[in-house]
């Protein structure tokens, strides 16, 4: 049965108040929200703090359990939990990335990654949690190795984008990194042994790519498709050959599959592909849209 045949409804459960300025990003903590483990959510804001919210098992409502403050000196732009949920990385306009660990009832900043020349915009952990990627307005993408004792070492600084890099995202199964930018392109970065990372593909306008800033990208569960969203008011779906990706030798090229246009009339800032196959998009027209693939693709 195709998801398209079902009717979906988004129901607002709760409004979480506490931040004193715009909330830029949220992240669900892995391995929470099922099997009796209360759901946990992190949010980050222009008020320079990060809040951690936990759902109460009895009432179902979310309460603020911690406020991570006095570390970032400017807007915290995004946050990402490590795959194990033990660490939370936060990216800030203050040019640093902070890494926090849950210690007792509170969160402690255990490491600060410096290097970007200006605003850090996004962070992504790879599937195994051994690598962390960051990107920012200085047009670069940094890859950090996670070492014992909460130490982080920069293993590569990737240049290639010609403008502000908005988001980085690791492939769900392979150590292949994707970045999207104000330069309207998406870049794919892979390693050819020994920390030698380079750009293996660029998806630009000529490849049926976006014609303005690409704000976000998201993979489907199997990792053979990706959705991107842009200031050009469209969402695009891209695909690659799964077996070639997994073989790891040479990079499987990504190709444009289709463009979803006419659904938003202002910048689409966010896109996410759920495990069940629903694509959600959020845009400056104040709308959230849900997409499902019909049988024909």
């Amino acid at each position: 049965m195709s998801l398209v045949d079902e009717s979906f409804e988004l129901k607002e459960l709760q409004v979480l108040e506490g931040h004193a300025d715009r909330v830029w990003s949220v992240a669900w903590k892995p391995a929470t929200g099922f099997d009796g483990v209360p759901a946990v959510l992190a949010s980050c804001s222009g008020d320079k703090t990060v809040r951690v919210w936990e759902q109460s098992p009895s009432s179902g409502s979310f309460q603020c359990k911690a406020v991570l403050e006095e570390t970032h000196t400017r807007t915290v732009r995004s946050c990402a939990w490590s795959p194990s949920g033990k660490l939370l990385a936060t990216a800030s306009f203050d040019a640093t990335t902070a890494v926090w660990e849950h210690v007792g009832d509170d969160y402690e900043c255990v490491s600060t990654l410096e290097g970007h020349e200006n605003e850090v915009k996004s962070i992504s952990w790879n599937a195994s949690g051994s690598l962390l990627a960051t990107c920012g307005r200085d047009k670069s993408v940094w890859i950090w190795e996670v070492l014992p004792g909460n130490e982080f070492e920069c293993v590569s600084v990737l240049q290639g984008h010609t403008q502000d890099v908005k988001m980085v995202q690791w492939h769900p199964n392979m150590d292949i990194l994707f970045s999207c930018s104000y330069d309207n392109t998406i870049k794919v970065w892979a390693e050819d042994g020994d920390d030698d990372w380079h750009c293996v593909q660029t998806l630009a306008e000529a490849n049926n790519g976006h014609t303005s800033t690409v704000w976000a990208l998201s993979f489907n569960a199997t990792g053979d498709k990706m959705a991107t969203c842009s200031d050009d008011l469209t969402l695009k779906i891209w695909g690659s050959d799964l077996l070639t990706i997994q073989s790891g030798n040479g990079s499987a090229p990504w190709k444009h599959i289709c463009t979803l246009s006419g659904y938003h009339d202002r910048t689409i800032f966010s896109v996410h592909w759920s495990r069940e196959g629903i694509i959600a998009s959020g845009a400056a027209d104040d709308a959230i849209r849900l997409f499902a693939e019909d049988g024909d693709g």
């Binding site: 715009r22 400017r74 807007t75 732009r77 306009f93 605003e119 915009k121 307005r137 908005k166 800033t213």
Partner: protein, 155 residues
């Protein structure tokens, strides 16, 4: 910063006479009136010269268009010269000044008048990138410059 002014001899115009809006206007409160918006921004001081944006013809009444139905406001301004590097600062001033002025669902777009700037597309793209605008306003130097432009008329 540059040593000399980018445009040392701007053309300065007289301030246009302000028309008082009738107090008993029944629609005074609900509508978003382009002229009201103009009143809010006309006296913003130019970043480089001791004159308002209105006096330098950077802004005029025609600069503001409002689409009530869609909830959109478009402000088009004309930098004094083609290579004005202060264009982005003027844009930031406009955004900051208008920040809390209308109902939340109104979207504001700020652009340079077509043909008025050598890097028109690049400037427009920056002025309408929400993240770039927010980060710029957190930069202490830019913030100070914007504050001076917005509040010097009140000194």
């Amino acid at each position: 910063m540059t040593l000399g002014l980018i445009n040392a001899n701007p053309v300065v115009h007289a301030k246009k006479k302000r028309v008082a809006r009738p107090l008993d206007d029944p629609h005074a409160d609900d509508a978003v009136d382009p002229l009201e918006i103009y009143d809010i921004v006309r006296d913003i001081r130019d970043p480089e010269h001791p004159y308002s944006l209105e006096q330098l013809s950077v802004l005029s009444e025609e600069s503001i268009t409002v689409d009530e139905k869609l909830g959109r406001i478009l402000i088009t301004f004309t930098p004094t010269i083609q290579h004005c590097s202060m264009a982005t600062v003027i844009g930031l001033c406009l955004r900051e000044k208008l920040k809390d002025c209308f109902p939340a669902h109104f979207k504001v777009d700020i652009k340079v008048a077509p043909g008025s700037h050598a890097d028109e597309e690049a400037v427009n793209k920056q002025l309408n990138d929400k993240e770039r605008v927010a980060a710029a306003l957190e930069n202490p130097n830019l913030r100070q410059l914007v504050t001076e432009c917005l509040y010097s008329s009140e000194l």
